[in-house]
């Protein structure tokens, strides 16, 4: 018995690697779901979006790039599901050029989800009526500040090449005054730019979606109320997906929740290795004594 503990204390690293690979891969192929419980920052964001009045809209700023896609893309999808389910008007823009493809993918995925179930034209999600994809504009301060005055002037054409001032949805969205909340999803400091420039100048409410590593930087802003609500990392995305499914009854592929099962399994496996290692260590130490 003692001998086997000792063996465990000196486990080959490849055994650890292989089991880690296994616990991450299996949930990707056969997802199982752990119900995440929404933390206050996510709940706040959800509630704020849930209570957007008819005359205002949600703006999503897709500021992440392909390298942080696993963590952040599910957030954009969950937000769109929420908004489309309640027929809230949505505007989407990109601060990073590499975000264009991702934003387009999120919009296509979610509108397809709704349109495949839609019975009538009124049920469908249509570009220009239910949402507008403004595309990309640089340098960053141009859209961030310019949208406070006139959005159609910052983005004369939308991503699909339509003139924005002719779109039905744009008749109600003039500038930040018509924006109930702007959610910036980024693996970088872009949400801070929105706080520093758009919020201080125009008072627009800011929500954030950030990677787990970046999240710590946002807590002070959350406490001071400058950030209305926030999703952090895959966990934040999973919590939002849970709220959308639970409260709105909207179902769809939950990528963050599914990835969260890999995440959870990996965490548990690492914690088990630590425990095994320590037990082995103590058994060996006692024997030496």
């Amino acid at each position: 018995m003692k001998n086997s503990w000792e063996k465990l204390a000196k486990l080959d690293r490849r055994v650890i690697y292989f089991l880690l690979l296994l616990v991450v891969v299996v949930p990707i192929i056969f997802p199982f779901r752990l119900k995440p419980k929404a933390m206050p920052p996510v709940e706040k964001l959800f509630n704020h979006i849930d209570t957007i009045p008819d005359d205002k809209c949600l703006v999503i700023s897709v500021d992440y790039t392909p390298d942080t896609e696993p963590e952040l893309h599910p957030m954009a999808i969950a937000l769109l599901r929420h908004a489309f389910a309640q027929r809230k008007k949505v505007g989407v823009l990109c601060i990073s050029l590499l975000g264009l493809g991702l934003a387009q993918d999120a919009l296509a995925t979610v509108s397809e989800e709704f349109n495949s179930r839609a019975q009538t034209n009124a049920d469908s999600i249509i570009s220009g009526r239910d949402f507008v994809f403004w595309g990309w504009q640089t340098p960053p301060l141009v859209p961030i500040l310019g949208m406070g005055e006139n959005i159609a002037k910052v983005f004369p054409l939308d991503y699909y090449g339509n003139r924005t001032d002719t779109l039905p949805i744009m008749q109600k969205i003039k500038n930040y005054n018509d924006v109930a909340i702007l959610v910036s999803i980024a693996g970088s400091a872009v949400p801070f730019w929105y706080i520093t420039y758009a919020q201080t100048s125009f008072g627009v409410k800011i929500g954030a979606g950030s990677t787990a590593v970046q999240a710590a930087d946002f807590y002070p802003y959350l406490n001071s109320g400058q950030v209305t609500g926030m999703m952090s990392g895959m966990k934040g995305g999973a919590e939002y997906e849970q709220l959308v499914e639970e409260r709105l009854g909207v179902y769809g592929r939950r990528r963050a929740t599914d990835a969260m099962s890999s995440q959870t399994a990996a965490h548990i496996w690492i914690m088990i290795t630590i425990i095994i290692g320590n037990i082995g260590y103590f058994v060996m130490r006692r024997r030496k004594k």
Binding site: R13, G148, E149, Y176, N177, S201, F202
Partner: protein
Amino acid sequence: MQITKQKINIKYLVVFMLLLNCCLVYGLEPPTKVVAKDAPNDAGGNIDIFWQLSVSDPTLEGYHILRRSEPEPEPVAVGFIGRGRNSFTDEGTTDGVKYSYQVIAVQESEEAASEWSNLVSSKPQWFHTGRINVIVFTFIFTFLIVFYINRAKRGANLFVRKIAGLLAVDEAIGRATEMGKPILYVPGLTGISDVATIAAMNILGEVAKKVATCDSQLIVPNTDPIVFTVAQEVVKEAYTQAGRPDAYKSDSVYFVTDSQFAYAAAVDGIMTRERPATNFFMGYFYAEALILAETGASTGAVQIAGTDSVMQLPFFIVACDYTLMGEELYAASAYLSREPLLLGGLIGQDWGKVVIVAVLILTSVIGLLTNLQVLKLF
């Protein structure tokens, strides 16, 4: 007669009531006390405008800001700002031209304009008054450091306590010699002007001297071409100082690539193929820190790390045998070389810490006991 008088009275009353009505329904009050000032501490081209909020502020959409100047007497709109805000910066002024501003409260279709402000022109400043505190701190610390370096020059005996990780350096080099295996020295991933790299170069010099006397082999892969050049000079010089210029091989210090993960892949390859007995990781590191340290640990090498990258320290602490944390990296070069000038700087730094702690405690005590706005000092 009586009747006419009454009629007139009623007339007045009606007019008065109507006016009152107008005020209640359309009572849009303009913002007041509009003041314009040159924006401080900038390169010119900016004017700050301040005003007192309109009484009707809660019902407003916001404020339009107009400006006029002598060359352009027609008012032009320079910006719009949401309600509840009482300042705006006009970022498009021409230095030297006098401008006046008007702030207009906007509510749906109604507008109420303030009076025009004072005339003001923007100009650039030569000195950033908001940064006096930084200058004061810089002077204090510079004084302390230079003072102690001078004392060291004059031969004062300066005490520096032992640093655990450094005692291991000799031992680790000795071990590599005994085993007849090379020593790997990774000088971090930042450029030559980074302090961590400078410290890494100093430590490299000391390590190379010991390696030269022990007749071991040194491998120094680099990720910055300039650091590579300097590292090569430093190692060459160390071999000369150790009296073994013949043992120096220029090929032991080389450049790999400036791409972070390609570098990590290459160093991983070196560690698993050349099997160095000792690995040094000194300098500034990013996410590759743990890739390097864990691969090194798997080859059974003794590992000594030192970095001022606080983000990566936990990983070095976990995966290496000895880790110089933060400032210890800088102290190490002073400690290893025993160069009085470097030691003097270290003592100066310690006094700098005393100053910081004193400032923290003093201002906190003042801040707690009085209502003085101590934070405004910083």
